[in-house]
Symmetry: C2
Subunit: 333 residues, 2 copies
């Protein structure tokens, strides 16, 4: 088929989501956030919002059974959805599990998948209340929906970042994609199990997100699923701002530096362009930063600042040079 200008591969996911939000305009004044954020939010009472999110995981796109077990797959499938609720400052409550499976799959596999889901669900008091199972001839497809809630005055979204705000992240970046690179390499998996584990069983930053939301200092927040290089575009687009990111300030572990060296790849391949860290990216006005950091009981790093929209998004190296950066994971790329 000839490549023409009206294929998905020509517009990328950001543009597609933009078009979808035009095709399905909000039609109800209880909708606080519709298409385009980590989760949708709608009013259920004067001071409470419900949150609803649903994400797909497709075999050999999002996971490979050579590198994950059924238990880990269940855990991660729920984790990426809990991360979306966390990113709004919310509390996950219920989940639906949809899974399409080839009929030659063993029952043990399915039981282990649910055990992995239960392990994480139990940790965050989430109840599995339904879903759909069906057969498919080939690749496993998972689609999980999580329903949760958030106090109306604590909701955080991709909108709201203001020019002058400070840009922060939780934890360290790049470990998940480095874990995947190790799995795809000849490096000793045992030595780097910590990074591999960040890839196959990522922890949603729920407690960190609630802490940030309750501080009432943050102006915007999202979870880093596709990598900083892709995800910063989402906050900037929704908030209609630009951003400067100081590469030297990105939080990177010694183990990641070591592995990047072993793999002969730049650290920023992982910390900027690598996805699936599920750390939180958020913004805080400069006058609230000192107070926030003094009270914040979780490691956070200042990585840059919000600029006017015409500034665009710039990654700046230690010499002050603007670095043109590899993009993060692009759907339909």
């Amino acid at each position: 088929m000839n490549k023409t200008s009206n294929k998905l591969s020509d517009i990328g996911e950001l543009e597609l989501v933009d078009r979808i939000s035009n095709w399905v305009p909000p039609s109800n004044d209880k909708i606080v956030l519709g298409v385009g954020d980590d989760a949708a939010a709608f009013r259920v009472s004067a001071d409470k919002l419900a949150l609803l999110t649903s994400d797909m995981l497709i075999e050999n796109i999002h996971f490979d059974l050579k590198y994950t077990g059924a238990y880990q797959l269940g855990y991660k499938s729920l984790a990426v959805n809990l991360s979306d609720i966390a990113a709004m400052g919310g509390i996950p409550v219920y989940a639906l599990i949809n899974i399409a499976l080839p009929s030659n799959i063993g029952l043990d596999f399915v039981e282990d998948f649910y055990k992995g889901i239960n392990a994480l669900a139990g940790e965050y008091s989430v109840s599995i209340i339904g879903g759909d199972t069906c057969s498919t001839p080939d690749r496993i497809m998972i689609s999980i929906t999580v329903w949760g809630g958030v106090e109306a005055d604590l909701l955080l979204s991709r909108k709201g970042a203001q020019v002058g705000d400070i840009l922060l992240v939780t934890g360290v970046l790049g470990e998940s994609s480095a874990g995947l690179a190790i799995l795809l390499s000849d490096l000793d998996r045992l030595l780097y199990a910590a990074l591999i584990n960040r890839h196959i069983m990522p922890a949603p930053r729920y407690h960190e997100a609630r802490l940030i939301a309750k501080s009432k200092a943050a102006t915007s927040m999202m979870d880093l699923s596709d990598g900083l290089a892709s995800d910063i575009k989402r906050i900037c687009k929704q908030s209609q701002v630009g951003a400067d990111i100081q590469l030297s300030k990105l939080p990177v572990s010694d183990m990641l530096r070591h592995v990047a060296g072993q793999l002969n790849r730049p650290v920023y391949d992982f910390a900027v362009a690598g996805g699936e860290d599920y750390e939180l990216l958020f913004t805080i006005p400069p006058d609230k930063l000192a107070d926030f950091k003094s009270k914040c009981a979780t490691p956070v790093s200042v990585i840059g600042s919000i600029k006017p929209p015409e500034h665009g998004i710039a990654f700046i190296d230690s010499k002050g040079n603007n670095v043109s950066f590899l993009k993060g994971y692009e759907h339909f790329g």
Copy 2:
């Protein structure tokens, strides 16, 4: 791979759903209905329940682009989920649309898909508030989630059918699967467009379901998605009862009889074993039947009655003989 006794293909979907409900036991006293019904129900206030349902549609399993357009596919994908909310007596409110697409798909296709969704969403005042898009190398996968509500005293589920209750259905049966059979045959599609349309754009029986729920006469209800032969098992299992179904009482249109003749197939291949009618199957105590039927503004048919569990499920022909019946659609079959 050798077929062993622990494969999905050996247990079927009913048994799988049973096992899943054991793997993920309800963990919260606000949960009114968990795994195993058309939708999950949980308490959000003293007299209101929230309903949450999510269904998958996979290319070449649930639909074939040779026989449906993008618009019709969008319409049907939402319809099957609205039908699940309707089957609980509920009101659909919000939907999330997940769709995985090959990147060579045209934008026109995606826009038409959303137009089809919007057409049905508009009809029932449902708002599309989010979802997930991603790329997949081959078959399109759709997973739609619908959130709705129902008054606590109007909730209907697959549980609740009592021995002695009368079994009823709305509308006529078998037209959707006959529509599919026409598409797969050499019959003139134009002549039988009404049946084809029931297959590619099924109407959720929302108004009928609300009418049945508000009558407060019904004891159980579900939507017919996999065919009467499969779905009656679900009500019987959840209600722990058996059932007699009188084949001569099944509501069948003249057009279906005609098409069955043209295709040289028994009418009951469609009306009993054929899926995707999305009519409602429900039960009413005999002492409430006359009053219900006198007030019921929509066509319903008595098709049988509820029996003790040890009776099992029997299909009875006009001579009073017990007919061993073709099963409906079986996942993992």
